[in-house]
Amino acid sequence: MWLWFHKLGSPKYFYDLSGKFLPWFGWLTLILMLVGTYWGLVLAPADYQQGDSYRIIYVHVPAAWMSLFVYMVMATAGAVGLIWKMKMADVVASCSAPLGAAFTFLALITGSLWGKPMWGTYWVWDARLTSELILLFLYLGFMGLEAAIDDKRTAANACAVLALVGVVNIPIIHYSVEWWNTLHQGSTVARMDKPAMDTNMLIPLLLMWLGFMFYYGTTLFMRARNEVLHRERDTTWVKDMVTES
């Protein structure tokens, strides 16, 4: 385990290994998302209260889950980079930020488009929506801070601290629908008892969530590999690879 962890910290090892996984992740993403979308839009029944508008759930909920998941990956990678000075951890944190921001943006915009027909408004300053908006600002702040500091090492450390402080927002987002009286509906899937959702509606949601997970893996690898190539541009293995291609 430690040996593997150590090897993964080597940029060349990461580059080779992620190159092997990338096509699999890409195809899995495509298949899961296509099947999930078809199932969600065509096969799943309409909701008895919300009609067909609820079908936005199949992009909204996976995007919202990912916005939290990616943040936790980013903060963890940031901490690893801060403590063990692991270069690859910095790369993972840095490449996760724009992806997390994209997921958060999607969650907010699709939520807004779902809120209009159901609540009668695109936006309301309630706990869930406000804390998710703060999450978007945390991602953007991370990216801005990184861009503002020239030295990569210093930038990575400063960003890691920012990401770690921002972790406090994650449980706030998750529990906001329980702690405060919000307009946002409560959780339908992650409950102590069984999900309050028809199986035919739940399966496409889980497929989409898996699709989003593999999508994150795919795009994270793509970005991280670029970053590795750029950072390691003076090493012999990168030069050899470029000459061979």
Binding site: V42, I56, A63, T110, M222, R223, R225, R233, K239, V242
Partner: protein, 52 residues
Amino acid sequence: MSEFFHMGGYAFFVWTSYGIALVVLLANIILPMQRKKEILKNLKRRLRREQA
């Protein structure tokens, strides 16, 4: 079929959501691909300069 696109009267909200999602997801695939091309082009140019 037209009933499917009508989405029970919520067509605008449902299709805009899926449309924006598609654009954002595709953009995050295309951008790193272009970046990779750019990086490799620059690397090749540097190598040629070094060898010359």
